[in-house]
Symmetry: C2
Subunit: 242 residues, 2 copies
């Protein structure tokens, strides 16, 4: 049967990939993906065939990968981070239906984990992951999720906190969180984990409101117990003393 | 400076570890951890010194690892999954404070991702991760989080759904979720990812209520858009058509 791997490659540094992800890429005859992510793996496998598509053409990219697999090639489609978290796995499964292509999902280290490790342990207790992108999700629903997450005292990892078109979305998100959470809540940002310009910074929720996030930033909001310890962001494993 | 790595080793299979995790273990002179996880890495590095401690003695385990690092050895403390998600990273940072030990957190593939990949793409949109263990967290707070997560239409990954002492906790959790979510909500369970007895199954929320989960099970609750596609659990990336 034709085979399509959907591979999460982690944050970008080759050593943050799992061995299984690397093996899937090694086995593939063709590697499909969005330009930036493909360029992260091309140096490791320079002699593969590459099917590169522009940003946001996800369905087109999936169909090209599925067609290549149907034509008899083993194909790996790469996502940054994990293949399932805002990644291509679901779309691949949907579009591969009835096409005679076996789809295998290879998980990877998503930004909540790679960025979290750089900051310390921001997600040491129950947490939520929320994307601020309103391309496919109405903004009202995103707002409601943030509000309910704050009321639940979840730690929150925010993906896609800003873009050119959405320059003020992180501010708007912080204002919603501040309805429930203290302005002193310990927060953190990471940027470009494992790549040039890597950066991690701990700050209060009040200060986060004015942070100039971009599309390479992941944002972490602590819960009521999160503390700063020696410059790291640490959420304890519970609500009682160790 | 003395060095302590806190390493997430992923679900258990050696190829689900990142290359960086493997390198950290290779560099360590001593490997610390709870017995079951240590046994997963011992075959890869049979000649290391091992500091094995029983379950639940987390602070003791951390102190032993920090003491070994202070004595001049490079030490790696292993967590299953990711080091930060209900793992040892936060405790290590807390207890290492002022001890002259550099702590480096090495992230790994947590069960929400490894189990998710096995099921399909259950966490393709915003999600929450909730542990049902009430050892360190009052049950009322766990209940409230589940209720708010369902109201927010988050996908939910449930860790520690049951133990001998907490045989009916998954049923109680499902009953709370059913206050907001349809009994037909697409859900899934995975068990022992990458190890003997690996299993993945898709079912409705109504049926999940009676599922005999154990401590090796991770549970996934879909959102209102989640569907079953060819036996896989798939949450679309948004609320609009592709």
């Amino acid at each position: 049967m034709s085979k399509l791997y959907v591979v999460g490659i982690g944050p970008g540094a080759p050593d943050q990939m799992t061995l299984r992800a690397r093996e899937a890429l090694a086995q593939a005859e063709a590697i499909a993906g969005y330009g930036v992510y493909v360029e992260l793996v091309r140096p490791l496998f320079p002699d593969k065939e590459y099917l590169v598509t522009p940003m946001r053409r996800e369905a087109e990219r999936c169909r090209a990968a599925i067609d290549a697999a149907r034509a008899g090639r083993t194909v790996a489609m790469v996502s940054s981070g994990d293949a399932g978290v805002y990644g291509m796995a679901g779309l691949a499964l949907e579009l591969a239906r009835g096409q005679g292509v076996e789809v295998e999902i290879v998980p990877g280290v998503t930004a909540a984990l790679s960025g979290g490790a750089l900051l310390g342990a921001p997600l040491g207790h129950d947490f939520a992951v929320v994307s601020l992108s309103d391309l496919l999700t109405p903004w009202e629903r995103i707002e409601r999720r943030l509000e309910l997450a704050a009321r639940a005292d979840f730690c929150v990892a925010i993906y896609n906190p800003a873009s050119h078109r959405r320059a003020d979305y992180l501010r708007r998100a912080c204002e919603i969180l501040l309805r429930c959470a203290s302005p002193e809540t310990v927060c953190g940002i990471v940027r470009s984990v494992g790549r040039a310009g890597e950066r991690a910074e701990v700050m209060t929720l009040e200060r986060l409101k004015d942070y100039p996030a971009d599309m390479f930033t992941t944002v972490f909001i602590g819960n009521s117990q999160t503390r700063e310890i020696d410059g790291r962001m640490v959420t304890p494993r519970g609500y009682r003393d160790v």
